[in-house]
Amino acid sequence: MNAQQNTGLNFFKFSIPMGFLALAFFAQEAWSALPIEREKLQGGLEVYWVNVQSLPMVDIQIDFDAGARRDPVNKAGLASVVSLMLNKGVTSQGKNPALDENALGQAWADLGAVFTASAGDDRMSICIRSLSQASVLNEAMALAYRQIAAPAFSASIWSREKTRLLSDLKESLTQPAPVAARAFKQAVMQSHPYGRSMSEDSIQRIDARDLKAFHSSFLSACGAKISLVGALNREQVLKIANGLAQQLKPSPRCADSSALEASHGPAHNDTLSASGFEAVKPLEKAQRIHIAFNSAQSHVLIGQPGIERADARYFPLTVGNYILGGGGFVSRLTEQVREKRGLSYSVYSYFTPALQAGPFTIGLQTRGDQTEQAIKVVQDVLQEFVSEGPTQEELQAAKDNLIGGFALRIDSNKKLLDNVANMAWYHLPLDYLQTWSAQVQKVSVKDIHQAFKGLIDPHKLATVVVGVKP
């Protein structure tokens, strides 16, 4: 086992177990060598990393508690705009001159490294991919720090980007899929920030001062995580992480770090959570929203609020959803909607577990005149699944796939980073990946049945149809 630790992904190099039981066993024994390490720095920044020496490259993800849920109520889209504008120039810093957007683009290209920033509901994520060669990586990180800490947020550039964003937004509203997604989010999440989408008005209201205010409030060390996968030893990792920490200004929010910790824990059901966000409320009754649209297909989205990531039912719902509508070509929904009836090219279901409960979503697209038929099939499949649960045979098939295919979840640096960053963000235990298969293995038919029955009420679904008038 010790021999496996010294060369990164060599921990993978073991004789391949036969069948999932052996793998579960193996997970305990050999994969405990999975060398994920963690460190908390002064100021609150947490570092997670895996030293993988198989390629001379590094993947880094930095997550801030600065997602769209932090958008001011009338300025939906602000977090996204901030992430976009991180790439559009930096101010001068010490002896470093200011760099405009083109100078930044060139600098990254000259290094052969990549910098991206994006905002989800909860987090703003900054990803960097670089060669591990010190001369390249050091420069790449120096550039990344400046973009994170000292973005220019130029008013004239924002004005140009605003025009572009508004145009793209209007364009997206001529397509059925984004129109459906917006209506669905709002119907399921109701007044919660997860239900908001940017609009023409909300984007119009944003000015350069809003970007600066958002940046100084939320891009801070407290609650932030940096995850690294690649050819980096401990010393190199800590140098990078400390370099970032030094750049992050203390934020007023940092003062009360307990509130932040709480914001990562389970939200309370009937009151505001400690993070100041309202709880996601269950739907009170079934709702049907139809948006007439000039498209060949109707886009259908059906769902309810789902679970937060910390929910104890995470694994039963994960395995259950594989059976219902997650498992590629072998799910119940695919079998009934696509394989048996040819109604849709794609039909699926998924949960969106996050710091708070994101939606449970079922989706499909079908020729307009088949819409009602397809909805009926979905309702029947869901009703039966919720009231009766899966069969033992289905559960076994799901476990065979999920456990048997576990290695496919982490067989590249990029995939491993996705997992490590999730562990960091959701405070999952360091042995999360080692115990993942055992957690799946533990799930019973009854667990799934109870979890779905307790969560999903087929009589209170929100159904959004964008397409032909019924």
Binding site: L9, D110, R164, N294, S295, A296, T352, G368, A397
Partner: protein
């Protein structure tokens, strides 16, 4: 499932979105309905000189694809007696493998009236064999812990499974069985054809820019089969029969028309032995004659426009240019490299020429502007510029501004720093590519189908470093006249829900109601 690779660009559903349950259920086409940026632009992943030693040590030109050279790049190639090519690239960084079977038949091998049949057959390959009934293939792969899908392109059709490497033999056995024994009742075809039509509606009929691209191709090529959409015209789909799919299968699915590609934690000899066991007994076939169907010369601009519900107008300009056919000193191959660099200089990174000239500053005319060059294919190649105008800017002005960027290079050449930058990007990207077994297998399969050495990526390092400003200037001057241009304009029309135009059309074309 079974996505059509429209012009080779594939984006798999985000892995994190769906509870970390990874699935390749569907390939999703993104806004730009084109074109894998083969050398430079794929997600702007770029790089610097890590392997500079290797670059300098490598003879840059006139390399032949001999087995020893391939081995130096970790690629092992052999051929079974029946003509099946077997490619193995062992990599033990993780205990998984990808198994792919590529058939050198795609939409370009179809004939009029049968557009979309290569792709329909790809769907039908999941519908059973005498020993593995409909639906069972996917169940068996799932039970092995695997993920699977397939794709169809103009040049090829491919099938793949990603699996723990211990399961390689099991998926190979399944794949060899359906490759040799695919058969299904007519009812399965009838249902699956409806799925394919839904796929067409989603990808094309409701996606104005995809539709415009489809029209551009149909305009650009008169004789060459690249004129046809991979997914097929709806009327052709409506009249497709089970026999059409069976005939296509029996004609083209032969070991001497296929390659097996395995990348991952595997033993080379063992994979070769397994290939012999499972594929070795399949009989060779005499393949249908492939007529050249070469495109006659073009002498004058061709234009097409499409009215569709949209907010933004959109222009696509495409010119006929040479493609890369091999590592020799022929002029068209050197030109293909220069065109690769040209595309990267125009649009290979944030703030490259098209961004600066068209989207920035007081006189900007575009919301976005991009360039694409496909580099290689079984058929002829095109070089594309595309742009979305700013409000109030006409498409013809935008077209002029796009062309002006090429003309500027034709007149002045490009700077040394630009050259250095785009070449450096290629070198680093070669490192990043090795992070994914899947991508490595996919690239090798495509190289094989297009008649290029399997280690083309490695071999390109040297020649690309040698491309000069003068060569870039020369191709910019030579290939971008209006005489070989095809231009497509998307003209937005209001989105009037009352007209329900597309729905009515969809129903009519499906033969439902009036």
């Amino acid at each position: 499932m079974y996505g059509v690779l429209f012009a080779k660009r594939v984006v798999l559903l985000s892995e994190t979105r769906i509870l970390n349950l990874l699935q390749d259920r569907q390939t999703v086409m993104q806004g730009k309905n084109k074109i894998m940026q083969y050398a430079f632009k794929a997600s702007r992943i770029l790089g610097v000189f890590v392997s500079i030693g290797a670059v300098l040590a490598m003879p840059s030109w006139a390399l032949s694809p001999d087995p020893m050279a391939l081995k130096a790049h970790g690629i092992h190639v052999s051929t079974l007696d029946n003509g099946l090519t077997v490619v193995v690239k062992p990599d033990s960084k993780a205990p998984t493998a990808v198994h792919m079977l590529w058939v050198k038949v795609g939409s370009m091998d179809e004939v009029d009236g049968y557009t979309g049949i290569a792709h329909i057959l790809e769907h039908m390959m999941f519908k059973g064999t005498p020993s593995v009934p409909a639906g069972e293939f996917s169940k068996k792969v799932a039970a092995l812990g695997g993920r699977e899908n397939a794709f169809t392109d103009k040049d090829f059709t491919g099938y793949f499974q990603q699996i723990p490497s211990s399961k390689l033999e099991s998926v190979m056995k399944l794949e060899a069985d359906r490759f040799a024994n695919n058969s299904w009742p007519d009812e399965e075809f009838v249902k699956e054809l409806e799925v394919v039509k839904e796929e067409r509606r989603m990808r094309t009929d409701d996606a104005p820019r995809s539709k415009l691209y489809e029209q551009l191709e149909a305009t650009h090529w008169l004789a060459n089969p690249y004129r046809r959409p991979i997914i097929g015209w709806m009327e052709d789909l409506n009249s497709m029969t089970p026999k059409d799919a069976r005939d296509f299968y029996h004609a083209w699915y032969a070991p001497n028309n296929a390659v097996l590609v395995v990348v991952g934690d595997v033993d080379v000899k063992q994979v070769q032995d397994l290939a012999k066991t499972y594929y070795g007994h399949l009989p060779q076939k005499v393949l249908p004659v492939r007529k050249p169907r070469s495109e006659p010369p073009q002498h004058g601009v061709r234009r097409v426009s499409l009215k569709a519900p949209a907010e933004q107008a959109y222009v696509l300009l495409s010119w006929r240019v040479p493609g890369f056919t091999g590592f020799d000193q022929q002029q068209h191959n050197k030109e293909a490299l220069a065109l690769t660099v040209l595309s990267a200089v125009l649009d290979g990174y944030e703030g490259a020429r098209l961004d600066r000239a068209l989207t920035q500053g007081a006189k900007s005319v575009a919301q976005e502007a991009n360039s694409y060059y496909d580099f290689a294919g079984r058929g002829p190649q095109i070089f594309i510029l595309e742009a979305v105008p700013k409000a109030g800017v006409g498409l013809s002005l935008l077209e002029e501004r796009l062309k002006a960027q090429i003309q500027k290079i034709a007149k002045e050449g490009v700077s040394e720093s630009e050259l250095k930058r785009v070449k450096a990007q290629y070198v680093a990207q070669a490192v990043y590519k090795r992070d994914s077994f899947f991508n490595q297998a996919q690239e090798m399969g495509a190289f094989w189908a297009r008649g290029l050495p399997l280690d083309t990526n490695d071999l390109l390092m040297g020649p690309l470093q040698e491309v000069s400003s003068k060569e870039v200037q020369a191709v910019a001057a030579k290939y971008f006249s209006d005489d070989t241009l095809s231009a497509a304009y998307l003209l937005p029309e209001p989105l009037d829900p009352k007209t329900q135009k597309r729905q009515e059309q969809a129903k009519r074309m499906a033969g439902v109601g009036k």
